[in-house]
Every structure is written in structure tokens, then in C-alpha cells.
């Protein structure tokens, strides 16, 4: 599903975020990406949907070499990847429902089918009753669940989340994680970055530990 080989990423100015990263993620797998703040977790995740390009090495996603992808092909790559960010990146000028509808507008879904899918996604994260609310009225944990609904509404095979629980209390964090586990159980490949070691250990899943720009 995802395969990194000898990936390095240097930012302009000489800062080296990743030195040589190699790992691969099988379809249907759930893995935690751990490491201190600033270890390069976000950088690594950003390489997968081509938000950043590697300085060296290759990043293969769904059989495509992302590093060599043309600019025009990137949107189509991203439609197959569900992205969840630490700051949910929701739009506060529209309802929860319209936020979840956003990705469906690009792919040109028929309105009725799109609305059905958006409601199904909201139902899965337990927020169907709040579809008319503005995201600003929701708690941090609920906003993160809206972001997850938006990430999965196009039914991607791969779900990537960068510190989705960082700003949440323990109860909300557990609930958000359960949602990711539930998606994994129906076959979605999930890669979750977190610095919360305790959380990772209680799930007993595969762990990729990033330190000094390498995966141990």
C-alpha cells in the first residue's frame, strides 16, 4: 500500500527532517508512527499525499511513485487518501454536513448520492444528529470526528492521521482512536502519528518509531 525506501527530506536552509527512511505498509494494516515532537513524523506523513516531495529515495503509494508524480496528477492521488490533521482544518463558514460534502464536490458525485454518503460517514463517527451545526459549536473531539468523516467520505483505501488526539482529553482521544480501529477492521489501511506511547501500547499494533531521521 505504502512503501518508503531510503527516503530523505531536507528543507531549504539545510534542515534535515528525514535522513533515510525505509518501511512498507501492507494493505489492511494499522500502524502507529511514534517519535518525539520534531522527529519528522509530520514530514513523513506529508510525503504520502505529495504535500511535500522527498529530496531522495522513493515513496510508492498504491503502486505509484509519488516523488515522480506530475502536478496535475496529485489531486487524483489525494482523493484515494483520507487525511486527518492535528488542527482539523474544518471550514467554519458552513455546516458540519457541508464540510463532509466538500470532497464529493470535486469528484462530481450526483447530489443525492453525495448527500447519502456524507450522512453515512457522519453516522459512522456518531455525529449524524449534529449535521446542521457549525463546527465551531462542537467540542474538540467532535470536530476531530467531523474531520474523520470528511476524510473517509470518498471511501479511501488509505487513512493517514497526524496527531489526531493531541489536543483531546483522554476520553475523546479513546473515542477517536476507536473510530480509526473500526475503519481498519473493515479493510482500510491506517497510519497514525502520535507521541503518546501509552496509547500505542494498549492497542498492541505495529509501531514505527522515528528517531534522528530514521525508522528503527
Amino acid at each position: 500500500m505504502v512503501s518508503f525506501s531510503a527516503v530523505a527530506k531536507r528543507y531549504p536552509g539545510g534542515q534535515e527532517a528525514l535522513k533515510s527512511v525505509s518501511f512498507s505498509l501492507e494493505p489492511g494494516e494499522l500502524a502507529f508512527l511514534t517519535g518525539r515532537s520534531g522527529a519528522g513524523k509530520s514530514t513523513l506523513l506529508k510525503l504520502i499525499p505529495a504535500i511535500e516531495r522527498p529530496s531522495a529515495g522513493s515513496v510508492i503509494v498504491n503502486g505509484q511513485n509519488v516523488a515522480a508524480l506530475k502536478r496535475g496528477a496529485i489531486p487524483y492521488l489525494r482523493r484515494n487518501i483520507g487525511l486527518v490533521f492535528q488542527d482539523q482544518k474544518l471550514l467554519y463558514d458552513r455546516s458540519v454536513f457541508d464540510n463532509v460534502m466538500l470532497p464529493l464536490a470535486f469528484s462530481g458525485q450526483a447530489p443525492r448520492e453525495a448527500a447519502r454518503r456524507a450522512r453515512a460517514a457522519l453516522d459512522k463517527v456518531g455525529l449524524l444528529a449534529r449535521e446542521r451545526s457549525n463546527p465551531i459549536q462542537l467540542s474538540g473531539g467532535e470536530q476531530q470526528r467531523v474531520a474523520i468523516a470528511r476524510a473517509v467520505v470518498n471511501r479511501p483505501a488509505l487513512l493517514i492521521a497526524d496527531e489526531p488526539t493531541a489536543n483531546l482529553d483522554a476520553e475523546s482521544a479513546a473515542r477517536v482512536l476507536e473510530i480509526f480501529v473500526a475503519f481498519n477492521q473493515v479493510g482500510v489501511t491506517v497510519l497514525l502519528a502520535t507521541h503518546d506511547q501509552a496509547l500505542v501500547e494498549c492497542y498492541g499494533k505495529r509501531r514505527l518509531h522515528l528517531e534522528a531521521g530514521r525508522i528503527e
Binding site: 499525499p49 504535500i51 496535475g72 489531486p75 487524483y76 492521488l77 489525494r78 482523493r79 487525511l83 482544518k89 474544518l90 471550514l91 463558514d93 466538500l102 470532497p103 464536490a105 470535486f106 469528484s107 462530481g108 458525485q109 450526483a110 447530489p111 470528511r150 476524510a151 470518498n154
Partner: protein, 293 residues
């Protein structure tokens, strides 16, 4: 309905929601100047054309010239290569024309006889008009050749200057329209920064993101063009109220006419194209700056 059509409809809807009335009015006011100027000039040109003075000579014969002499002269004129058209105006007919003018029958009555000579109205190339007038004046039965070209030429020159001014104004305000649209779209892109960034992150193509802005520029131009036409129509209507009173005092009938349907649609089309161009320039310049990090 196909996905492509649906996306265009969505973009158009989004552009309609963001269309600023004030911007359209600004564009409309700016465009109403050249459009109105053009309408005025066009009406004046209609008058000048009706008088048709610019290439015509009136050739008056001696009052005592015989009809045979007149016919001989007519043959001569028709043979002249510089002359395009010849129209003979017999003195009786000229008197009848004169009698049709308000107040004239009384005057003619008082004269007791026809004071008008036979005449020819000669149309020629504008270039050879002066020389032709001089030649014709030397012919025996000709009493007087009147070239009304001088003031007609002055009027034409003035009209030409007016037309040039209208074109210059159009060009300047056209650039203004592009600049106004450029700036509107820039501000719009800034206000929608979050939406654009998120859309790029979750798989929107560049075309999808640009489309509403193109529509916005186009619509703003088209609505601005329509506002300009409305302003011109209202202005001409007001002007015509006064002009009618003035013309009537001269016993004449004149009014400024609105732009022809072709010209009116050209104004709207021109404004739309320029708005689209402004949007295109702005989007090319500013959308690139928003890349998710």
C-alpha cells in the same frame, strides 16, 4: 446530468453568491462613459448622413437658361468620370420642395413668381470635389456652384476626434475594468484562503478551484456592462426630453437614439471578456501562493 456540467453549475452558483453589487456598479459607471459617447456620436452621424453634404455639389444654372441648355449640361455631367451621380432638380420641383417648408408658402405667394433656377445635385469622390467645383463653375449655363463641403468636413473632423476620444476612453476604462476585477478576485481569493487550502489538500484539481473565480470575473463584467447600458438609456432619455424642446423651436425633429442591439451586446460582451481576463490574470498570480504546508 454529467459531472462536468454539474461542476460548472456549482461554480456558477458559487460565483453568483459572491457577486458584489458595488463592483458591478463601479464597472457600469466607468463603461457608461464610452458607451454613452458612442451612442451620441452615432446619433450625430445619422444626422450628417441624412444631410449627405460631404460629397455633394449643388450646381445652379442662370435663371434664364433654357431647358435644352440644361439637358446638354446634364449629358456633359453624366459623361464626367469624376462624377458618381447626377440628379436634375427642375425649378418647379425645387419650388414645390420649398413650399413644403413651414412658413414658406406665404413668402412664395408674396414673390409672385418662381425665383429658383434649375439645378443639378452632383455626387462625386470627396477627393476631386474642389477641382470639380472649379471646373463646373466655368461652364456657360452655370451661375453658381455651391460646395457645402467645408463645414461638413469640419463636422466630420470633429466627429472623428470624438470617435477617437471614445476609443481612447474605452481603452483606458477597459484597462481599469481589468484592474478592478484583478483586485476583486485577489480579495476573494484571500477571503477563501482556508477553503482553497483545504480543497487542495483533499483532492480538488486546479481547474475546479479556479472555475468559480473565472465565472465571478465574467459575471461581474457582464453585469457591469448591463449597468452601463441602463445608465446610457436613462441618460439619453433625459437628454431627449430637452433636445425635443430645442429641436421643436427650430421646427425640426431630432432625438438621440440608443445603441443598436449589436452594439449593445458588444458592450456587454466586451465587459464580460475583460472581466474574465482580469480574473484569469489574478488567479494565475495569486492562487499559486496558496499551497498547503
Amino acid at each position: 446530468m454529467s459531472a462536468w456540467l454539474r461542476q460548472h453549475r456549482q461554480a456558477l452558483g458559487s460565483a453568483l453568491r459572491r457577486l458584489g453589487v458595488l463592483n458591478a456598479v463601479v464597472i457600469g459607471v466607468a463603461l457608461s462613459l464610452p458607451a454613452g459617447g458612442y451612442a451620441l456620436l452615432d446619433s450625430l452621424r445619422g444626422v450628417a448622413g441624412r444631410l449627405a453634404l460631404d460629397t455633394q455639389l449643388s450646381v445652379f444654372l442662370h435663371p434664364e437658361a433654357k431647358r435644352a441648355e440644361a439637358e446638354a449640361l446634364g449629358k456633359l455631367l453624366r459623361a464626367d468620370g469624376r462624377i458618381l451621380r447626377v440628379r436634375f432638380v427642375p425649378r418647379d420641383e425645387a419650388l414645390k420642395d420649398l413650399a413644403a417648408v413651414q412658413g414658406m408658402p406665404e413668402v412664395i405667394e408674396a414673390l409672385g413668381r418662381n425665383p429658383l433656377p434649375d439645378a443639378f445635385v452632383v455626387t462625386s469622390e470627396p477627393r476631386s470635389l474642389e477641382a470639380l467645383a472649379a471646373d463646373l463653375a466655368r461652364l456657360p449655363p452655370v451661375a453658381h456652384v455651391q460646395a457645402d463641403a467645408a463645414w461638413a468636413r469640419r463636422l466630420a473632423a470633429l466627429a472623428a476626434i470624438g470617435r477617437l476620444a471614445v476609443w481612447l476612453l474605452s481603452a483606458l476604462l477597459g484597462i481599469g475594468l481589468v484592474a478592478v476585477t484583478f483586485n476583486t478576485i485577489r480579495l476573494q481569493i484571500l477571503t477563501q484562503r482556508d477553503e482553497i487550502e483545504v480543497s487542495k489538500l483533499i483532492g480538488a484539481t486546479d481547474a475546479f478551484i479556479r472555475r468559480p473565480f473565472y465565472y465571478l470575473g465574467l459575471l461581474q463584467g457582464v453585469v457591469g456592462g448591463a449597468v452601463a447600458l441602463a445608465i446610457v438609456a436613462a441618460g439619453l432619455w433625459g437628454l431627449n426630453q430637452e433636445v425635443a424642446v430645442l429641436a421643436q423651436s427650430y421646427g425640426a425633429r431630432f432625438s438621440f437614439t440608443f445603441l443598436s442591439p449589436g452594439d449593445a451586446s458588444a458592450v456587454v460582451l466586451f465587459a464580460g471578456v475583460l472581466g474574465w481576463l482580469g480574473a484569469q490574470l489574478s488567479v494565475a498570480r495569486h492562487l499559486r501562493e496558496i499551497e498547503p504546508r
